[in-house]
Amino acid sequence: MKILIVEDESRLRENLVSSFKNAGYATESAESGEDGLFLASEYPIDLAVVDIGLPGMSGLELISRLRADGHQVPVIVLTARDSWQDKVEGLSTGADDYMAKPFQFEELLARCNALLRRSAGFASPKITFADIEIDTMAQAVSKAGRAVELTAYEYKVLEYLFLNPRKVVSKTELTEHIYEQDFDRDSNVLEVFVGRLRKKIDPQQSLKLIQTMRGQGYRLNPDYIQ
């Protein structure tokens, strides 16, 4: 999952980027509304965290331009002005949630997870296919009730597939959503990740939950999807 962070205060932006990375997200960041709009239009973004009080193009303007261009990407606004009038204004401009500064990162993360899940069409934070359950809140995976230890990248690959269950996800798409722009896009690395992931969630190779579509990418086995 790739998160765009638009925040003009550099220290806060850097800390947000590193906190999101630690939580296993890929990030893009911008310090102005103009840059943010460019990144959101050019790169596959799954969610945007936008500060309202940006110099130049304001956060609200950025959101309304995005919406006007037809972008449905979920947006959380960060705001220092947290009166209900400001909240209502932000949410009616097209934001999906707001966080008042100063915020706890854990809460921002929880809201980001919830928004991502909702935008994929899942109501509960727990998503299950076959006997594999992922908890998007806790970022944990279990097989038949027993916890499965995954690395952050492995988890992100699985989560992305779980959140897009009816879709064939190309290797390029998966790479773009999981890694930074400047990541060395060697598809072999991704194949190695997927291979390890398969072994961890399906040691007996009996489930075949993640299917490889030759020349197209990966998908979840349709047999497990209602």
Binding site: S83, V88, D96, A114
Partner: protein, 444 residues
Amino acid sequence: MKTWSLKRRIALISMLVLLLAFSAIYFITKTAYTNASLSRVQESLQSQIYALMAVAEDRDAQLTLPDMLRNDRLNHLNSGLVAYVLDIDGDLIWRSRSSDNFSFLPDITLKYSLNKVTQSELDGRMMFWIGDRIIWEHENEMEGEYLFLIGEKQSILGASVRQFKREVAISLSITAIVLLLVLVMALNISLNPLKHAQRQIELVERGEIDKVDGKFPDELKPLTSSINQLLDSEKRQKARYRDSLGNLAHSLKTPLAVLRSELQARSQSEFKQQIEKQIGRIDDIVRYQLNRSVVTAGKASRTIVLSMEIAKIVDALKKVHADKKLKITTQVDPGASFPGGEGDLLELVGNLADNACKWAKTEVLISARKDEAELVLSISDDGPGVPPEKRELILDRGKRLDQQAEGQGLGLSIVMDIVKLYRGEMTIDKSELGGSLFRLRIPY
């Protein structure tokens, strides 16, 4: 007197002036009429005394007058006109037939004159007298002094004076009443611009308009334009104040957010907890004071459509609490309005409804209705509710949160602060949905 209206003062003074002027007119007219009547009486009596003297004859050295005279009033009893001729000793020489019912003779010691009416009583009746002493030369060349007297009963004149007085009083009263009515009308017309200005100021106060509008006479123009200038500068100052507070809050909150994000990377320690706690406190204080400063309390810039504002909040809450898939219902009485600014209303409903959404299991109900002179806003949920013993505590803590901000329930203390500024009240109850019911009563 201090609190009397201008209209009342002017009306009272005018009434006093009118009363005084008309009393004077009445008194002067009455006196003039009485004097004129008296001189008419004197003239008429004078001419009659001359006529009387003209018919006097000397017969056998005796002054005689005919029994019947040409003036019929002297021949008839009760005509009110009497005539006497007396000698120097007061003995009767002659009397007119009309005087037969008088038992006494006129008092000869009084000074009688032809040119001035003498008033005296005769036989219990007040009379006007004209008299003249003449020296009569008899045929036998003897001389005798005689007093010719002619009198008229005062009651005859009195009746006509009374009649005149009544007529004058009636016409003066009618004139006074008409004048008063005209005066009141004139007062109303001249005070109308003042009244208009007063209404405009009231509308400004209620927030229905933002400046005193209309055409005013030259005397009022300086006043209305100063009021408008004052309103304008107050508005600009308030906006400047609000902006600078907003900017202050913004510039404080970003560093606080940076501080928090810095702490994020650090491992748990007492130091981290302490810093976290203090950041939370600073945040709460800034939020509380910022929200306080923007409360407009009764100074709406325009009339607010309650249902629209509440719908905005509901849309926002549905996004923020999307995970809970809550059923948020609104019941807004179309006659209900909010007696203040949009920001205050959003703050009241937003904070309470947000709390309700946090606690609710499936349902939140927001209702607004007009109850006599109050707006009643109720927000209820189907959550666990507030136990009766804790309600007082929550309201109390809300009151004191500005001093000891602890993070939780800041929204509630903002709500209570706004409610206080609007002279309203908040109560906590059990809702029909099973959870809590927060009810605000805000007087218009």
